[in-house]
Symmetry: C2
Subunit: 309 residues, 2 copies
């Protein structure tokens, strides 16, 4: 642990192809999805594990592997990197790896873990200037950060249950009570899991913005993109209603935290495009934004990456 060594990853291209053909590519085809943004598995980012050098080597190896995937299937996968975060280490230390992935590999975004301690929340909140060197680089490169936790080592939390969803709500609130978007007006942020609790608790957030004289909630929420990884009809409708059709980016977890069949429908929980199809008050233009247009807006380099194909 103290003296990590970085060596070659012994996975052949054929092994990568075999894994993807029976996994993500099969599901993309089944569900009519053209392109997937592919990032290292969030729960395995493991920023709390070892030290900053362990995190750096592990992150580089993972981003390299994502790059190999994207080169093998340039029409299906576009890369998003993880960052070599480590508890107590300046986020400025991640800038070099972000630049490598964007400039050398053509990646279009990154994952940003607001709690690299893994559930102990020992670091400064996202509104603190501690994070500003990273925000400056994100804005300069014009790539978004998806806010996403990794696994928790705190027994109070469950990784893909309470920890992920709490992290979404916590990060949203940290940004809402901060001046981050005044200091970085072009910073792009994407929230996973349909925003954790934000659409359901919108009235509370709205009231707290009024009571604290913050930017009105209905203006603030437009600064952020929300993905659609909620898995029933009612939640999907609430999400789109609260956030609005211009800030919703289609996503499902392939393969992720809800990788099983819903006995009520006989379909996989994460086969969630059908919930969007079923919303009667969406127009074809709305659906086009949710399934494609908003992703191109949130990830401006996506157009460039796809034009290369």
């Amino acid at each position: 642990m103290g003296k990590p060594v970085k060596s070659a990853v012994n996975i052949s291209d054929d092994e990568i192809r075999a894994s993807l053909e029976k996994g993500q590519i099969r599901l993309l085809d089944e569900r009519g999805i053209d392109v997937m943004l592919f990032s290292p598995m969030a729960s395995a980012m493991g920023h709390h594990f070892g030290n900053a050098l362990v995190s750096r080597y592990w992150t580089e190896v993972n981003n390299d592997l994502i790059h190999r995937v994207c080169r093998l299937y340039p029409a299906r996968f576009v890369g998003v990197c993880s960052l070599p975060q480590s508890a107590g280490v300046s986020p400025g230390e991640c800038v070099e790896e972000l630049e490598r992935c964007v400039n050398e590999f053509g990646f279009v975004g990154c994952n940003l873990n607001p709690d690299p301690s893994g559930g102990y929340w020992t670091g400064p909140p996202l509104g603190d200037e501690w994070w500003y060197p990273l925000y400056a680089k994100l804005q300069q490169l014009d790539v978004p950060a998806m806010i996403h936790a990794s696994a928790t080592c705190n027994p109070a939390f469950h990784t893909t249950g309470s920890h992920y969803l709490n992290t979404d709500a916590t990060a949203f609130f940290q940004l809402m009570e901060s001046r981050v978007f005044r200091d970085f007006p072009k910073l792009r942020i994407v929230m996973p899991h349909g925003g954790g609790n934000v659409p359901y608790q919108a009235a509370r957030y709205r009231a707290l913005c009024i009571m604290n004289k913050w930017e009105p909630f209905d203006d603030f929420i437009k600064r952020i993109y929300f993905d659609t990884t909620v898995y029933n009809q009612d939640a999907m409708e609430l999400l789109i209603k609260v956030v609005g059709v211009d800030n919703i980016v289609f996503a499902s977890e392939m393969l992720g935290g809800v990788n099983t069949t819903d006995p009520a429908t006989g379909k996989s929980f994460d086969d969630n495009g059908r919930f969007i199809d079923a919303i009667s008050w969406l127009t074809d233009q709305d659906r086009s934004k949710i399934f494609e247009g908003n992703a191109r807006k949130a990830y401006p380099r996506l157009d460039v990456a796809l034009a290369r194909v």
Copy 2:
């Protein structure tokens, strides 16, 4: 701090009356509410503050004051106590104060803080036997615990925003992955804030129960009561739909975290009975359960307390 002294609280009955007549009693009358369960203010429980003896004295003083309120207005207020919790101290140490409040004062329930560290989550989860002496006493006395955080001293969280709501979701998940209800089948638990994120993220919880072979989500959720402190129509409908009319207990925060007017409606955010009135698919019997019957079921000693009036 190291040598706390407990002395008399210099608040006269007239001062108590003056505060309540222009506060809670005015609002109860305006909103047609007969009886309110009155507990010490959650954000001021302050279990992270000082040491166990500070927490004990402060909790006793607060519970004594609640008891005075209930004696002054026995037809309007029924007492719910806070507990002298302290980070790292066994919950068994709270049993004596719980018994005092229930047996001597006629209180009908308590607040239970799953994170007495105030946002650092340093203690064992609610599924740990660490909590069992308290659960045994709650079950024996037949009084429910409302799960509720106090203020956070961790800058990652906002007390009435992310910390309260995260705590609801965290506690729900800790219980869901535990054997607490197998070991204490008659334990009564109430969740505030409409369950934090639970109704919105129900499909994720449902999937995780299947993947982990836990009790099915739709059975587990019936073991817990949820209050109605969500503040718009869509959230209220989602809450009641997911939890079911038999497990919903009417509540609003009077006066609490959302103490302001909604500019969209001109009404106070926490005047939330109207959302229940407006749900077309509820019957009169359903509304009767939500506004009264379920509270009598969740708090069995409420009947006794009100019969004394």
